[in-house]
């Protein structure tokens, strides 16, 4: 890997090799190249070194070295985000954590799983199933990291019931950019107790949503949940976004769903049409699936009764809502999670090729219809499909609004076309009160341009406190 020769001339590489051992640290171009890009439109950039750590102590040593030498460190688990979050803005050390992939414990009484950052959704799903437990799997690759998704406020298939994955976090062990080891949550008080962040001050907030800029989470505990045996998925379609939003408002009030999601016709296709093509006239513009899990048939029937009541109410007020058959592969891809259909991006990119990005936001549900209408216009003008998803969140009228935008990454023009359309869409959503999640730097700049000065001041102050030399994934916050 070029380590042997480089070690003699490059003291940083030599130090890294001393920490993690030969074969686990390199400056070889071909190895760095494979970390220089991801699925997104973000311009590829090379790290200077790639290091694989397998222990907490190694991570501490690496960060102490980096902090001393003021070398950027980019934490990496699977690189499957679609916002360029692990593409180094300023080179430095790409710290690959995939070998830290132990499921440390599944506490079936406290309903907590304690994991290392390299544990994948597929790995945890297989292990939890042995205990008839489940977690809110996202529509991402089965090989993606549970930890990275959770600390980045990812969503999952139990979003409507339990909220974001970050809200399932109960405790953390973190190495600070200075190399110091800290704990937050109950494990900070009693090393064996990983059950909750409350009622302590919620210091976990120092590491969630920061895009790996405040430290490296080396152990994470998340709540897991019993898996009821009866799955019932309610599917409807609507001709207009307004009718669909109304249906979702209504149904979400009853809090009977694990996931309450609607997708535009373009997103219900496998794959998303690229370039844009009009939907058939007789196809509804929106499809929704609502997943419910029940322990008994009676419970299922009660959920069904509520759902039917909602449909009837909506129809009585003149809505176009219809009980319908959701496209089969798309439904499978979205409800049988983790899924290779969505994980492989088959449903997103198969037609376009290589590229996928998004305006991915959390937006008040009352704004979904007007934002969608404007997004649709922008995207069609860019010859892109308005492949939009709306997901209701934990019983309140707020949730995820995002457009999945595939593009042909082989073409610079088509990539730039998608980037421009996405940024344009994002600005509209931000102005309507939406907030993007897992944002690329382009988004971060737009967020910061609208931010309260006190928020930015606080953000900078906290960042400086935790990372005095600005070594952790620098540049990603746009500050």
């Amino acid at each position: 890997m070029g380590t042997a020769t480089a070690k003699k001339t490059d003291p940083v590489l030599a130090a890294l090799v001393d920490i993690v051992g030969e074969g686990n640290a390199t400056d070889a171009l071909h190895i760095r190249y494979a970390y220089s890009y991801d699925l997104s439109f973000v311009e590829p950039k090379l790290p200077d070194y790639v290091v694989m750590a397998s222990t907490v102590e190694q991570i501490q040593e690496i960060l102490k070295l980096a902090n001393r030498e003021k070398i950027p460190v980019v934490p990496y688990t699977a690189g499957t985000n679609i916002g360029g979050l692990t593409i180094p803005e300023r080179g430095g050390i790409l710290l690959d954590l995939k070998r830290m992939n132990k499921i440390i414990e599944i506490d079936t009484q406290d309903l907590v799983a304690i994991i290392e950052p390299g544990v994948s959704h597929a790995q945890l799903a297989a292990e939890l199933a042995k205990h008839n437990l489940r977690f809110g799997w996202p529509v991402g690759p089965p090989s993606a990291s549970v930890s990275s998704c959770a600390i980045s406020h990812g969503i999952g298939g139990m979003n409507a019931r339990y909220g974001l994955q970050s809200q399932e976090i109960t405790s953390m062990e973190v190495v600070l950019p200075t190399g110091e080891l800290v704990r937050v949550g109950s494990c900070a008080i009693q090393p064996k107790a990983w059950h909750s962040t409350l009622p302590l001050p919620k210091l976990d907030g120092l590491f969630k949503g920061w895009l790996g800029t405040t430290g490296i989470v080396t152990k994470l505990a998340v709540n897991v949940h019993p898996a009821p045996p009866i799955l019932k998925i309610f599917t409807v379609s609507c001709d207009t976004v307004e009718d669909m939003v109304s249906y979702m408002f209504n149904l979400s009030n009853y809090e009977i769903c694990d996931d309450l999601t609607a997708v535009s016709w373009w997103l219900s296709q496998v794959p998303i049409p690229y370039p844009y093509r009009p939907k058939p006239d007789d196809a509804p513009e929106w499809n929704s699936y609502a997943t419910t899990y029940s322990w008994t048939d009676k419970e299922r029937e009660a959920r069904e009764e509520i759902w039917q009541k909602v449909v009837e109410e909506e129809q009585a007020r003149g809505s176009s809502v219809k009980v319908t058959h959701y496209p089969e592969e798309a439904l499978r891809g979205r409800t049988q999670l983790p899924s290779q259909v969505v994980g492989s991006t088959k449903n997103y990119c198969k037609m376009a090729g290589a590229g996928i990005s998004w305006p991915g936001t959390f937006t008040p549900a009352k704004k979904w219809a007007p934002v969608y209408t404007r997004w649709k216009k922008i995207l069609i003008e860019h010859n892109l499909s308005p492949a939009v998803r709306m997901s209701m969140y934990r019983g309140v009228h707020y949730g995820m609004l995002r457009a999945m935008i595939p593009f042909n990454k082989q073409s610079k023009e088509e990539t730039e076309n998608a980037r421009r359309a996405i940024i344009e869409c994002l600005k509209i959503d931000l102005d309507e009160g939406g907030i993007p999640y897992k944002p690329p730097v382009d988004f971060a700049r737009e967020i910061n341009a609208r931010a309260h000065p006190g928020y930015l001041m606080l953000l900078k102050r906290v960042k400086a406190m935790l990372d005095p030399n600005d070594i952790m994934n620098p540049g990603k916050l746009g500050i």
Binding site: I31, A126, P142, S143, P338
Partner: protein, 437 residues
């Protein structure tokens, strides 16, 4: 004879169909219950993304095509050979480049060879041996028939098909012929054929390597030379010796003749009327027809290892070449119809006294023994280490022994067992069958 072996540039369109999603990194199935397991031997051993599954190899291909990566860097040259080309990642992928993943990996190697950098020095010895001796083992041609001696001694000589007609050509393959630890495979195969009264013959010293090893390490010219020679031999045997069937017990030869040879312009014409069949499939057919019955019994608990070359390498992909259903080049579907998954298992289960217990990673998700793609030659220690992982998986089933249908896997898995101090022994399916017929 013209050969249509694609260059990396001709595959560039497919390189750009990879999104780098990483789904290829692990074997996964929703179930229920969900199934998860590591699938990439190189990823397990080296860990860096570039080494990992098709995502990493596609990154290398992109780097070559955009001019960033060069084979002048010996570390990079080595990296493109740190892959068993097992196709485990291919099974997971769902995108348009799926059918072409091994082609892209071998396309890089071909480019390295064309530019004068590849293959790696140990592979060069192998290719040179192919040129000098028509086999990759540096074995004199006369040694190719060493395994036949016991038959001659016993007064049951193997028919020389160069001289006498026969309906079936038993194409032995170099590993079975030259690798002493794998010689039990042709011996058992021929013994079974004799017991069943099959009219078969061998090419003996005139057999020429199938070329698989050369193809796997990117030397297309060396491959074409022997493959062309073999195809001409097959034509001659069909026309002059009445051969209707080519049977081989070697997974690598089988894959080469079935798949790689199909890239020749004359393949259809030459193979018209000639069946290519793996011994396991052939014997399974005879068993189904009631022509193979068991006389003995084996008290043995075994597990079965699916070789890549008789498994997922035989996937038939449906690609929308002209864009009639989706768009030009769209991957539509895959059929496992030609993969030899059921035949060996059914035969094993049919042997009186044999209990078959399955490992977690089987069939399309079989974990490669670690010897393929030139790895056993280029990185012998890693190949054995990886085989040790597979043996450990086999041991976890409670099986005493592991059975397979590939002399290459046979050799490497035995090396793995030795490395980890396991008493688990590798048997070729033919070796078990021969004992009970």
């Amino acid at each position: 004879m013209e050969w249509k072996i694609p260059s990396l540039e001709e595959l560039e369109h497919y390189v750009w169909r990879c999104t780098a999603c990483g789904t290829c990194r692990v074997a996964y199935d929703f179930g229920p219950p969900p199934f998860y397991a590591p699938i990439c031997p190189a990823g397990e051993e080296f860990g860096f993304e570039g080494n990992m599954s098709s995502k990493g190899k596609i990154a290398f291909a992109r780097g070559i095509l955009d001019g960033t990566l060069s084979f002048e860097d010996p570390a990079f040259l080595e990296a493109i050979y740190k892959c068993t080309v097992c196709g485990g990642c291919q099974t997971q992928c769902q995108l348009d480049h799926k059918p072409f993943i091994p082609e892209i990996i071998e396309g890089m190697r071909r480019k390295a060879v064309e530019q004068g950098y590849g293959p790696l020095p140990p592979h060069k010895n192998l290719v040179q041996s192919l040129k000098s001796y028509d086999n990759p083992y540096q074995g004199p041609r006369r040694m190719r028939t060493d395994w036949m001696r016991p038959f001659k001694k016993a007064g049951r000589p193997i028919k020389d098909i160069n001289k006498e007609p026969a309906e079936t050509l038993f194409y032995v393959g170099c590993t079975g012929a030259f690798n002493k630890q794998a010689q039990g495979v042709p011996v058992a195969t021929a013994s079974i054929f004799q017991k069943l009264g099959i009219d078969f013959g061998c090419l003996g010293q005139n057999e020429v390597c199938c070329g698989s090893t050369a193809m796997r390490v990117g030397d297309a010219e060396a491959f074409k030379r022997v493959a062309t020679q073999n195809l001409e031999t097959f034509r001659k045997l069909k026309e002059e010796k009445g051969v209707k069937r080519i049977v081989t017990s070697c997974a690598g030869c089988y894959r080469a003749i079935k798949k790689d040879y199909a890239l020749a312009s004359d393949y259809e014409e030459i193979m018209d009327g000639l069946e290519v069949i793996h011994t396991a499939d052939f014997l399974h057919r005879l068993w189904k027809e009631g022509k193979l019955t068991f006389k003995g019994e084996l008290d043995m608990k075994v597990t079965y290892h699916d070789p890549c070359h008789t498994g997922r390498h035989l996937n038939k992909f449906r690609v929308d070449t002209e864009g009639e259903e989706l768009w030009p080049g769209a991957y539509l579907d895959v059929s496992e119809e030609e993969c030899l998954y059921d035949q060996p298992r059914e035969l094993l289960k049919a042997i009186p006294g044999v209990e078959l217990v399955e490992m977690a990673r089987i069939r399309g998700n079989s974990y490669c023994c670690g010897g393929g793609g030139g790895v056993m030659t280029g990185f012998g220690d890693w190949a054995a280490k990886n085989a040790g992982l597979r043996i450990a998986e086999g041991m976890s089933t409670g099986a005493q022994h592991m059975v397979s249908i590939c002399p290459f896997c046979h050799y490497n898995l035995n090396a793995g067992a030795k490395l980890i101090g396991s008493e688990m022994k590798l048997y070729d399916l033919t070796e078990l069958l021969d004992q009970v017929l």
